[in-house]
Symmetry: C2
Subunit: 133 residues, 2 copies
DNA sequence: TTCCTTGCAAATCGTTTGCATAATG
DNA sequence: CATTATGCAAACGATTTGCAAGGAA
């Protein structure tokens, strides 16, 4: 099915481009609504799904029960802080290498990968030390 | 809070140990129920969560909307076939190395990681060739 | 005009939870 | 006896979907 232009989709995509914190559908909704009050949550979900299906954005699951979205579709890793729930990017040069090795070892065809690290971010580590005083 | 023994939990864990295909909560439920008809879905969920929280099993999210569980808690990767929905293990020796590099690069503290490859498995590739004849 | 998109609201569905009862230590 | 676990069913919450109306090509 052909895709037709829609202002809503454009705004959703534009918004995602400005963010590096991998917002959820709800965050996208709340923000886009500031500029376009009539937009509905359903439309946001529909467009995020459409964009992700076409590979224009990334759908990220870090295990907090909510999908996150990323306009940066280059191969990279994520870090999820189990304390504050923040999702950050992580560049590891061995990622490409791992992809190659995986394809060599796999009898099927690999299209993409998702790598996520879990732990506690610097800020939250510091904060917990702070609270122990 | 202390953990007390329960036959249900034991059976859930035992079942998971026999499977290498990373079953979902529902699959665990249906199977354990064969031997223990009174068990409830809630109990299955509660115990899978408890076991995962204690690190005795792994909760895996491959993006199909359902959580999968794995009794093998060693560091390894997964492959998800978008065709048949199957989840398989993948051993890559560079995984340990990647973990080390990630920890070096990360200012926070990394506890674990999750790596999943997406694509089409051998069987499904063959099947689609078959269908084209 | 044709087909894609939207807003709205209702429906889905995997997972969680409250509660009274049963089992464990 | 104190505490944790269970079964059941209801509640939750993120995401999806049906439908009538609006917008793009």
């Amino acid at each position: 099915m052909a895709v037709k232009y829609s202002r809503q989709r454009q705004m959703i995509y534009n918004f995602l481009m400005t963010r590096k914190d991998h917002p959820t559908a709800d965050v996208v909704y709340k923000n886009v609504r500031q500029e376009y009050p009539n937009i509905s949550l359903g439309t946001v979900y529909r467009n995020l799904t459409l964009l992700a299906d076409r590979g224009e954005i990334l759908r990220i699951q870090v295990g907090d029960g909510v999908d996150h979205f990323d306009a940066d579709t280059s191969r990279h890793c994520h870090f999820f802080c189990s304390d504050c729930g923040g999702v950050t990017d992580m560049q590891l040069d061995c990622v490409e290498d791992m992809f190659t090795r995986a394809q060599q070892k796999c009898s099927g065809k690999i299209e993409s990968q998702s790598i996520c690290f879990y732990g506690t971010c610097r800020k939250c580590l510091d904060k917990s030390v702070e609270n122990q005083k």
